[in-house]
Symmetry: C2
Subunit: 346 residues, 2 copies
Amino acid sequence: MVKAERIRIYDVARVAGVSVATASKALNDTGRMTEATRQRVKQTAASLGFRPNAMARALTQHRSFTVGLLTNDTYGRFTLPVMAGISEALVDEGVSVFLCGIEDDAALARLHVDAMLDKQVDGIIATGKRIDRRLPVDLSGLPVPVVYAFTEGPDDAVTLVSDDAQGAREATEWLLGKGRQRLVHITGPQSFASVTARARAFSAAAGAGAAILYGTWSEAWGHEAVAQFWSSGAPRPDAIFCGNDQIARGVVDALRERGVAVPEDVSVIGFDNWEIVAAATRPPLTTVDMNLKELGREAGRLILELAEGKPVEPGVRKLPCKLVVRQSCGGDAIAPSDKGEAPQEI
Amino acid sequence: MVKAERIRIYDVARVAGVSVATASKALNDTGRMTEATRQRVKQTAASLGFRPNAMARALTQHRSFTVGLLTNDTYGRFTLPVMAGISEALVDEGVSVFLCGIEDDAALARLHVDAMLDKQVDGIIATGKRIDRRLPVDLSGLPVPVVYAFTEGPDDAVTLVSDDAQGAREATEWLLGKGRQRLVHITGPQSFASVTARARAFSAAAGAGAAILYGTWSEAWGHEAVAQFWSSGAPRPDAIFCGNDQIARGVVDALRERGVAVPEDVSVIGFDNWEIVAAATRPPLTTVDMNLKELGREAGRLILELAEGKPVEPGVRKLPCKLVVRQSCGGDAIAPSDKGEAPQEI
DNA sequence: CAGGTTTGATAAAACGGTTTCTCACGACTC
DNA sequence: GAGTCGTGAGAAACCGTTTTATCAAACCTG
């Protein structure tokens, strides 16, 4: 850690033989001057390795090139892809992201929001683990724009969510397209908006007669649901669409234990495309990907526009899900375009 | 989003009937003045809802109350707990964290580091997904302090890692303490330093005769290893210590499929305490927790000390792991003190 | 060639704080 | 009662940029 004195614009100006004002304008491509002068300043800056002090710049421009990401999904499989997308959209604009994990603690949330405002963030993106719950803090009336991504915000806010209904519809239609006839939907608690949205879409596509079983978001529930079905006298399904990948994994495991072949006898589709679950299932799960990274990218773009003062239409934007085809629903996958995250190490 | 004019210290000074200089000193508990004046200023500030502009403050103090977290573990089950710990240690000091995910992209890393330096971060914490690999960027010679957490740094750096050997030893001794006699270690690729450290500690505790099987970090490998063992004529183990929770889950599933009872016939212990795997395994996994959150907390404390100019002894600090007892290794758990993360929702 | 217009560049004033230096004043000393 | 000292408070400089206002010189125009 060598304390190399940082070059200031003052140094650039001196070496280039111009005033600080001229240097500033040269480097920002503003103001008027001969092209020669501008180039000379730029050259000197480059050769000196000048990098402007963002703090000083922020002070005059009222723009910190910094945004805050607030989330209650601390151990988050939802926040991380969203964060990656945001970062990807913003890094090229020189914008950095403060990540603030607030459990469900209103005081902690307040603390983080205040810290962010003190640091003059250009905007705040709120995200969470549930599309139909609010963060434990009121973000309206803040002096900076706010975008809600994968969490509920006020009615007049800019909000981004994934399109549960569309995702469920595509999955269901895919199963029907495979010639499956007796579809069942095994999903999470009915108290989740996502659950009812997906269930409705499933019913619409599969027919009102298709059974829907509500439970919890766990592998155990997947097991249990299969047990219920197989022990009852009811006609057995040839396709099961699950509310998330964990349930799907439980279902697949339970079927295997019963000697039911997946996908030959029963096709299974999950939801979330949570690699670590979907890829470890035997056979690997076909599943609905919520495109959270793209959702993050879009959130980044929107917050940037708002920060620049551009008008953005408020309202809820639904982003489409994408079916990721693996082996659990019957082989002849259309080129899966499976994103294939880097293999998990250690 | 109401643009409420932000209160400046100038406003506080005017209302309190003092100069800006006095106001500043009053609020920062510096300088000399009557207690009455100080209190009056503080009261006015509070009633006006004054919050100092962190940018302006940073400019003079050369302290931004901001640190950067650089990681290549983008979808990270390692980074997240570390991040949570860091944040926890720093939020009370008013320090915010820039999270920068660099895949394994040197150019991207450079971009983020430069952005962070421009923003005058007080320090950088580097973290990753492997204890024995470096990030694709050289962080030495930076004008700010650096702490390495769960990733390799230069020899003269401040580095924090979990104590693999101690964790493996505790797991092994726990199994021996349960009266188990024929121990086996099924683990990941030998190219990982963690693998060899854990394996050596296992050998030392279990005896040189105890078998060690190296493979990949997957459930599939856990399955396969069991298959190998059970099909060979070799004497069957009564305890299996696994290199991570995914392998352990594969092992447990394979044993169940063979009708081998866990933990009655064979005890199984995993490594990582990755809730989502450990808790979903039937029976739930006893596993070694690397205490990554505490590691993060410590990293936060250290970077803070360095930022404040306090001396910190360079070198590698090993933080102890902790055995989290669940049902997979034989019941009479000492109060598990299982951290029990909030149940996963959707 | 006087008078108006560009043009290129600069000095100085922000931005919102902190810090150093100076100073007036009452209390103490001798 | 003159000289010293400690104290509370304020003026001004500073941090590193951007931006506005200003200005001299060159350039037209009729």
